[in-house]
Symmetry: C2
Subunit: 209 residues, 2 copies
Amino acid sequence: MSQFTQDFQNDLLDLMRWRRDVRRFRTDPVDEALLMRCLDTFLLAPSVGLSEPWRLVRVQSDAARDAALRNFQAANADALAGYHGDKAKLYSGLKLSGMREAPVQLAIFCADDTAKGDGLGAATMPETRAYSVVGAITQFWLMARACGLGVGWVSILDPLALARDLKAPGDWRLVAYLCVGWPEEETLTPELETAGWEARRGTLPIEVR
Amino acid sequence: MSQFTQDFQNDLLDLMRWRRDVRRFRTDPVDEALLMRCLDTFLLAPSVGLSEPWRLVRVQSDAARDAALRNFQAANADALAGYHGDKAKLYSGLKLSGMREAPVQLAIFCADDTAKGDGLGAATMPETRAYSVVGAITQFWLMARACGLGVGWVSILDPLALARDLKAPGDWRLVAYLCVGWPEEETLTPELETAGWEARRGTLPIEVR
């Protein structure tokens, strides 16, 4: 099918409305076939020069999960120390990761030195390789939500320490740490908005030249 | 609607299969309401700390388009000079942008210094702000394709020179230059694969720790 109906377009918009960054997961497992079906969307993502620089590490062992959780806790304590007064109080009450509960956890890397694609498109903007990985993550996020799964992106991490703890090759750069599982709730409102941290702008900043 | 059917999930996968990086556009205009409907997906994108750091410039005047096109031509000539023999011959035959034809052109920036979100989530990985912009672009790309429009991401550009030529504020970083319009054709195969530059891998590199 290369034509998409108005109904599908409306449902796609609904999907984007219901997609959340999830930090509250149920602990029941995710079916492997379902997970793989969602992850297959990586293979359909755009990538600069067809470099396909995404590299995934499934963080599964107790040791690997402990290292990731300790990394987050240290980075989060540092971040809290950067806020003061009411803002610090608000920050300390936020739940910013589901790393204790999420049954599936994935560290997503970019192979910055990949030979695939022979550098096409990435000479002046090499960061487009990492951007390709982010595009793939976004596709996965949407497909996971369409299947009822929740995804939470944890960025409060020391990326170099995590790469080392997960024994990632030297040219792999951490792009994201994803928690995946069944969400405790479904909502139209971002958790940071519910918590009073920040609200959506609601308009698109666009200028004309 | 918070539940999505199996049919919708299948159609979403089809959408990702048919999404292309388009460089061959028809020159007929894009309806403004349709364009704005697609761009509204930016407002639904995830962003680190709800920072919503996307900033758009619509590149419309002859002067602005000329500057962007000349920028691409210079960067592309430099890139070509980096290839040799058969690879150079192949590269020189590739069509890598639709900047001469695409009726809508957008430079997408990231406001790295935005106060929105108060830095939440971006202390150790400030690049997640640009990643938020890429997530929004990916959502726009999918919605545009669902509506029959093609999107092409041009990265063969000097980003600092383009930001200067478009009079972007100092803290705006170029993330992408997008060509948007009606595609000349619809196909399941990436153009770089058809041209023999690079093929898709077809499997997902995933390791377990």
